[in-house]
Symmetry: C2
Subunit: 479 residues, 2 copies
């Protein structure tokens, strides 16, 4: 795996990404066009993402459940904008048990419709509200241009769905979940994000308001890392999700939905990786530290392996996800490259000389070469490793933040916007009009990523039409 070098990230970002995903054994191409196999190392990363999110969802009162993959085609058609948005992307089951089905079934592209159908049975009274649910599952969208993790026919995600008695409560929920995504991205994935509101053109099919967190990838392009939708009463009216209020009046619920997918793994790769491969933020890394033993003969081998295993046990006991790489038939140098490709945050080198000194060499993945190496006494390794993992977590975040800020420009003029989106983000006043937005997209290939929730200034002029404007919007070319 580690024999050849990757294409240089700065020269061919796209091919660098494709090769990295395969060679770090995160995922592979499935036999069906556009589908992917998530390999154990990639899935372990996803499990850590799941745990970090699930903890936050449960702490805010959400419960997991499972809804069927198969949805009657007619359900998708009940909400006007929903069917417009999703129809072109549907996979349809027409045969079951050897017979042609009376009504074709679609593979869920998302579950608002089937959830709406069930909620209309389950929700009766204001006492049943709020309903706070989350699903971890797989969905299918028939995409034409696919890329591992970023856009695949089938992908894995969580989709949260909630129903509330009032508009205010549902809006609060929508924003709460956006905050949770942002906190996860920053704290666990070391990815700085810009939370904001989507334009009418970019919002979810069936939403009243869509919020997203937007991140800058290593090539300056934008990636929508998670979304949270305030659905108003669109789905509750389409599916008759009603409740009796305390006065005995029948009311429609207010609903929300929000999701984060395996696409996020693509963001981690593209934000942190370098020419040697992946760099994983320690909090999400399946392996936080790898021990590579070094020896020249059987005598050295016995002593080194014994010490390496003691070290492994001590680190594991302290809750550090550690692996001892005792593979035979490959050299230490080959192992170094292999673990660098896989982005393990810390490498511990342990040889006879180290043993004699009762120390070892620790190499930080985020600082290539000598600059990232230090000698650490074996006594006290646990504390040292824990501290270094925290430092790497922090340092990755700061590096990504610095990179993003260095490539984000406030652009008072259209020409400046045009130039800014060639290498990163443009922040520009925008009148709110669909025509100005469409012109930017048409002429620069950049889309409006969001209207950031945090706004520095109060007023200016639209970067396209010069009409007075109250808000800056974020533009960038997007994945």
């Amino acid at each position: 795996m580690a024999d050849e070098k990757l294409p240089a990230r700065s020269e061919d970002f796209s091919e660098w990404y494709n090769q990295l995903v395969l060679r770090a054994e995160l995922a592979d191409y499935a036999p069906v066009r556009g589908c992917m196999v998530v390999r154990p190392y990639g899935w372990a990363l996803w499990e850590n993402i799941q745990a970090a999110l699930d903890r936050r969802f449960k702490a805010t009162g959400h419960q997991n459940a499972a809804f069927p993959m198969l949805i009657p085609r007619s359900f998708i058609e009940k909400e006007r904008r929903h069917v417009e948005g999703f129809s072109p992307e549907l996979a349809v089951v027409t045969i079951g048990g050897g017979e042609t089905l009376a009504e074709p079934l679609v593979l869920r592209p998302t579950s608002e419709t089937i959830i709406g159908h069930m909620w209309s049975k389950w929700i009766q009274s204001y006492r049943d509200l709020p309903v706070l649910m989350n699903l971890w599952n797989n969905v299918v969208r028939w995409e034409l241009r696919t890329k591992l993790f970023l856009r695949t026919l089938e992908f894995y995600w969580q989709e949260g769905h909630t129903a509330h008695a009032t508009r205010e409560e549902a809006e609060r929920e929508t924003r709460q979940m956006l905050d949770i995504y942002a906190d996860f991205a920053v704290t666990d994935a070391a990815i700085p994000v810009i939370p904001g509101r989507k334009s009418e053109a970019e919002k979810f099919a069936g939403a009243e308001t869509t919020y997203s967190i937007e991140a800058m990838m290593g090539d300056g392009k934008a990636l929508q890392a998670a979304t949270s939708h305030f659905l108003g009463q669109n789905f509750s009216r389409a599916f008759e999700i009603q409740y009796l209020d305390p006065k005995g009046q029948l009311q429609y619920c207010w609903t929300t939905s929000w999701g984060l997918s395996t696409r996020f793994i693509g963001a981690i790769i593209m934000v942190h990786g370098d020419d040697q491969g992946l760099i994983l933020p320690p909090r999400l890394a399946p392996i936080q530290a790898v021990i590579v033993p070094i020896f020249r003969n059987d005598e050295e081998k016995a002593a080194v392996l014994a010490a390496a295993d003691r070290l492994r046990a001590a680190l594991a006991a302290a809750g550090i996800r550690v692996k001892l790489d005792d593979r035979e038939g490959v050299s230490p140098g080959w192992k170094f490259n292999d673990w660098e490709m896989r982005g393990v945050p810390l490498r511990v080198e342990l040889g006879p000389k180290d043993l004699a000194r009762q120390s070892c060499v620790v190499a930080r993945r985020d600082r290539p070469g000598k600059r990232g190496k230090s000698s650490v006494p074996l006594d006290g390794m646990t504390g040292a490793i824990s501290r270094m993992l925290e430092e790497i977590q922090q340092s990755l975040y700061e590096r990504a933040l610095h990179f993003r800020d260095s490539r984000t420009r406030e652009t008072p003029t259209y020409e400046e916007l045009r130039s800014a989106v060639e290498t990163g983000f443009a922040l520009a006043f925008w009148c709110g009009g669909g025509e100005c937005e469409a012109r930017i997209k048409e002429e620069t290939k950049a889309t409006m990523r969001c209207i950031p929730l945090v706004q520095v200034e109060a007023s200016g002029h639209c970067v396209v039409c010069r009409r007075p404007s109250q808000e800056r919007a974020l533009f960038g070319k997007a994945y």
Copy 2:
């Protein structure tokens, strides 16, 4: 939910089951025939099952991964017996993105074929072996007669898949996983099981040997609770899964697969439940103890709720999964019934009189009425609750074991077998012939569940043809 009584378990077991699943809010019928929605309470139970198994899988070196749901139709046809077994049950996607597909895709009924395809790429050398993988996912089988959890078109499960260099190692793996399932069933689910080998007629489509664990339900019928398959080289030959051995010779791998599904939830219901509803084994129960506060006025309410919340916090801090039921508008008696329906192992009643005595009343779900009630001092509740949960776990197992043993008979004659399978299991010598097995099935509706791995006696005569026989087989009517 708790307003009406369930049908009596002893009178209409099937309808008792159906109603219990709905009223305990474990699952509901989906709009598509034969599909189910797993509601939060049912999914929380499944998550506990997942955690108990996943821990065991990882401790034995298995890694989770994810393979696509969509499989080219031609893959299923590569292994002769596999296609015979699964063809009648396939759901087929023929349209994607509005276009008719050149090759129809099937929704995985199980993943041996697509895994075989990928392994043939990934596995090169003996150094790549063994490959030890597990998938947690959803599969689709177009069943005609469905029942919530027991048999649904889409269900959730884990499917383990492993590849080995030698037959012996693969056989060892197959048996190891059977042991893990048995240990999980006994230790965590309090369900006694009989591990054994399936007959040729009952084995997995494509397996060389299938093992299963068989459990007796509360109506005396059998349920196959998990299976483990030794696949020989059947799939490695069909998919060219080969490796270079240390001598440089190309060899076919030996593979296994093994699975446990949401069907297991049906077993828990049918083994432990009673006329009042579900009874959950404490180790898997989403809620192990529920506190029901009792009061008549606001003054009492304030004091009782404060004490109840302190108790909740103390129990939660000790790692007990506890819930305080402070719902308004429903009586304590209604709550008692509701939690009995949901099978929570312990109910803690706390009222003003209890507070005055600094004690509370604890009711065991497995012992209805006064017999299961005891007064426990508030001081030392944590220890008392933990002990009682352990007692319930043990007592549920013993009760189920006693029930099974009381309904399992050694049957030297065919007439005795015929009578035994009307109420439970028959253990009978069997010659190993498919004709004798088929005759039993035809005439008694009982199938051969397994040839138990533990055999008491060495020889006898086949219960049907009287030929000499070395092994007893287990017969029963099955779900």
